[in-house]
């Protein structure tokens, strides 16, 4: 199933970022941070990392992940300062961990199986997410759960499970009355 720009928009309007917007309200390019920093990742690097994580946590049944992630997370970073700095710090820490424990500079540069091993090793699968917690908890919160929230609170993610109007998505007051598709 293809993730559309409408899904990104839906996930964002659920989160209150884009209100009554159209797809043109979505970002097509990663944001660039106003303050450049040599020690923190760039907007493009953050986006690559999110796409690399989505590749692991999203089901193989969906396509068009990059455009969705850029549209969703990019817009969110542009609109919400707390998310912008939180996700950037989490990516910086994840990259440092990668540099120490793996033979690569950045998490996004690892191949899929190494990425999976690394997140398991870090304990991200079983971690309690927290926006202010340890690196593991912040990776779970700002990267993994952010992406899962965007997907499963959108109509396409919901439909994969059998609910086209998932919680958190304003999908109208009629779907609850309808029976299952034939």
């Amino acid at each position: 199933m293809e993730l559309t720009r409408r899904d990104a928009l839906a996930a964002l309007s659920g989160a209150g970022i884009v209100v009554g917007g159209t797809a043109s309200a979505l970002r097509r390019n990663p944001i660039s941070f106003e303050e450049q920093s040599t020690s923190l990742p760039s907007g493009e690097e953050v986006m690559e990392t999110l796409v690399a994580v989505a590749d692991l946590v999203y089901p193989s049944a969906i396509s068009n992940v990059r455009e969705f992630v850029v549209g969703y997370a990019g817009t969110r970073m542009a609109e919400r300062a707390a998310y912008r700095s939180g996700v950037r710090d989490a990516v910086a820490d994840l990259d440092s961990y990668t540099a120490v424990h793996f033979d690569a500079e950045r998490f996004a540069g690892l191949d899929a199986s190494d990425r999976s091993v690394l997140l398991d090793q870090l304990g991200v699968r079983t971690a309690d997410p927290s926006p202010e917690g340890t690196i593991t908890q912040r990776v779970r919160y700002y990267l993994v759960n952010e992406l899962l929230y965007a997907l499963y609170a959108s109509p396409t993610g919901g439909e994969l499970v059998g609910i086209e109007n998932p919680q958190g998505h304003p999908g109208g007051p009629t779907s609850y009355r309808q029976g299952p598709p034939e």
């Binding site: 659920g14 989160a15 209150g16 970022i17 692991l56 946590v57 999203y58 089901p59 193989s60 049944a61 699968r125 079983t126 309690d128 997410p129 927290s130 926006p131 908890q137 919160y141 993994v144 759960n145 899962l148 929230y149 997907l151 499963y152 609170a153 993610g157 919901g158 994969l160 499970v161 059998g162 609910i163 109007n165 998932p166 919680q167 958190g168 998505h169 304003p170 999908g171 109208g172 007051p173 009629t174 779907s175 609850y176 009355r177 309808q178 029976g179 299952p180």
Partner: protein, 551 residues
């Protein structure tokens, strides 16, 4: 996100006020609006903050995503909200209320129904508890106005409900798909289903949006389709009322005679205490803080607490208890699209022990002594996929398989049972602990009686019959040992005609203090088994009339 800041607002008292209202939940908001509309000078003192409407989506996200404690959705908890629960049963007070403009309706579910006639004469009907000094007919016009104010969506298809003349202001929400599954089983058993009155817009109403299906009504409706009392706070302000937020009232001060309240003493964020004087004072700060504030206002004229010559302040605390049963079917049930209910049954309200017979069987009779039961058919049984995903240890295709496996076939029934008023269930002051202003915190002493337990068991019996008829498997039951409170605080300043046994008279004025009234479920004499807020709203409108007459 912490509470929205309006720290530079003017929080000094008004020079001249006809009425001071304490609390800006539905009770306070409706009293303030009604009186301001009639040209009275009204000041509302509210302990909590004003919440920005724009932040509701962010609050919703906190409610769905793990990592955020439930209490942070409406910034509850901490020193301000300290309490003790020393009774037999633990009482989770801060999950049961919200402090701020709009009060607990910011978090509520929004089911609103009238008390049944029998609720006003429990002693006459069943020989237990006590009768109210007023009856359904006294409240009937106020119920109608309350429904119009809140914008209730409903239909007149409940054959067990008390009589009404006017149609509801909004059409009812249509039954859900899962209701239609229940309907087949209920027909075979002879159990009658009907719609649920919802304080929720089925169409646009009062400049608020129609429901758009976020499915997170409890604890936050981002669209504003669910009624919350900030609506009437705004209306009251438009009529000239002043609302001071972050202004917790510390105590009420009387004149020398002790028969009139002179001023409400409140604190502001800058650490200063102010006095708001008024000709009339209305307490609308909820069923726990009202008795607490009266007890905190003890003086030489009122040594056991203000308006407490009866000793009833804080006593007879009552809750509604949840009874439920759920299971899974061999087909899809389409749950968790919306966060509210569309079908109920009040059939076992006035005759909880009755047997039923339908086209193929029925519910067996019970000859036990029982209280009223309200049965609910849930639209949000089982897991919400997005919440499950955020908690899962699996990712990718395994996660999707797990979600598909868990979601889709659940059904559940809920129900409410009201407990009897008992003196020993009460709110007192815990003088060993203090809040952020150095005041003793409320102590809740709570447990349930045998009749209430039996009634919960009876509700479970009916629920099990329906689920069995539906062919549900893996049935699990929430009975008397797993039940919890529905977050309705009733009975703690009961109404009556005898000043030695009750706190307020039928006009909602305290027996002991001439210019002090109470608008709250704290004046309920019995609990019934319906959610209380429509009755709170009706009483608030009645209270406003009496205050207005005196002014």
């Amino acid at each position: 996100m912490t509470a929205e800041d309006a720290s530079d607002a003017d929080r000094t008292p008004s020079d001249r006020a006809d009425v001071c209202v304490v609390g800006a939940g539905p009770a306070g908001a409706l009293v303030a609006h009604r009186l301001a509309e009639r040209g009275r000078d009204v000041v509302v003192l509210e302990a909590g903050p004003r919440f920005e409407f724009e932040n509701r989506e962010e609050r919703m996200e906190r409610a769905i995503r793990p990592a955020h404690d439930e209490l942070t959705v409406w910034d509850m908890g901490g020193e301000r909200d300290r309490y003790t629960s020393s009774g037999e049963w633990y009482y989770p007070l801060n999950h049961a209320r919200v402090k701020g403009v709009g009060g607990s309706t910011l978090h509520w579910q929004g089911m609103v129904m009238r008390h049944h006639r029998s609720d006003f004469d429990r002693r006459t009907q069943d020989g237990v508890a006590a009768d109210w000094p007023i009856d359904y007919e006294d409240l009937r016009p106020y119920y109608g106005s309350a429904e119009t104010e809140m914008g209730v969506a409903g239909a007149s298809d409940n054959p067990f409900a008390p009589p009404r003349e006017e149609p509801y202001p909004l059409p009812a929400f249509e039954p859900s798909y899962s209701d239609s599954l229940f309907a087949e089983a209920c027909e075979r058993l002879g159990v009658t289903m009907h719609t649920v009155p919802n304080a929720r817009n089925s169409e646009g109403y009062d400049d608020r949006s129609a429901c758009v299906g976020y499915g997170t009504c409890k604890p936050v409706c981002p669209s504003g389709a669910k009624y919350s009392a900030d609506v009437h706070v705004e209306k009251a302000e438009a009529e000239g009322a002043r609302v001071i937020d972050r202004a917790p009232v510390q105590r009420l001060v009387t004149d020398e005679s002790g028969e009139r309240v002179e001023a409400a003493v409140y604190a502001t964020p800058d650490g200063v205490e102010h006095r708001q004087e008024a000709r009339e004072v209305v307490l609308a700060c909820g069923g726990v803080e009202i008795p607490r504030l009266l007890l905190l206002s003890e003086s030489s004229a009122h040594p056991d607490g203000l308006a407490n010559s009866s000793g009833a302040v804080g006593r007879y605390f009552m809750e509604h208890l949840f009874a439920g049963a759920g299971g899974v079917l061999d087909r899809e049930t389409r749950q968790n699209h919306v966060g509210f209910l569309t079908s109920e049954s009040h059939q076992f309200y006035d005759d909880p022990g009755q047997s039923t017979s339908g086209t193929d069987g029925g519910v067996p009779a019970s000859d036990a002594d029982l209280g009223p039961i309200k049965l609910e058919f849930l639209n949000y049984a089982g897991p919400s996929p997005v919440e499950m995903a955020l908690h899962s240890d699996d990712w990718g295709d395994e996660l999707l398989a797990q979600l598909r496996d868990s979601y889709g076939t659940h059904v559940a029934m809920g129900g409410l049972v009201g407990q009897l008023p008992r003196k020993e269930n009460r709110i007192t002051l815990d003088r060993s602990r203090t809040d952020d202003h150095g005041n003793p915190v409320p102590d809740i002493q709570w447990s349930i009686d045998a009749r209430t337990r039996r009634t919960i068991e009876r509700a479970n019996e009916i629920q099990r019959s329906v689920l069995e008829e539906l062919g549900a498997t893996d049935v699990s039951v929430i009975g008397p040992d797993r039940t919890g409170p529905a977050y309705h605080h009733m009975g703690t300043t009961r109404m009556g005609t005898d000043p030695t046994e009750s706190v307020v008279n039928p006009n909602l004025r305290t027996h002991d203090v001439r210019n002090l009234s109470i608008a709250s479920s704290s004046v309920f004499v019995t609990s019934g088994a319906v959610n209380p807020t429509l009755t709170i709203a009706a009483l608030a409108l009645k209270c406003a009339d009496h205050v207005d007459e005196r002014l």
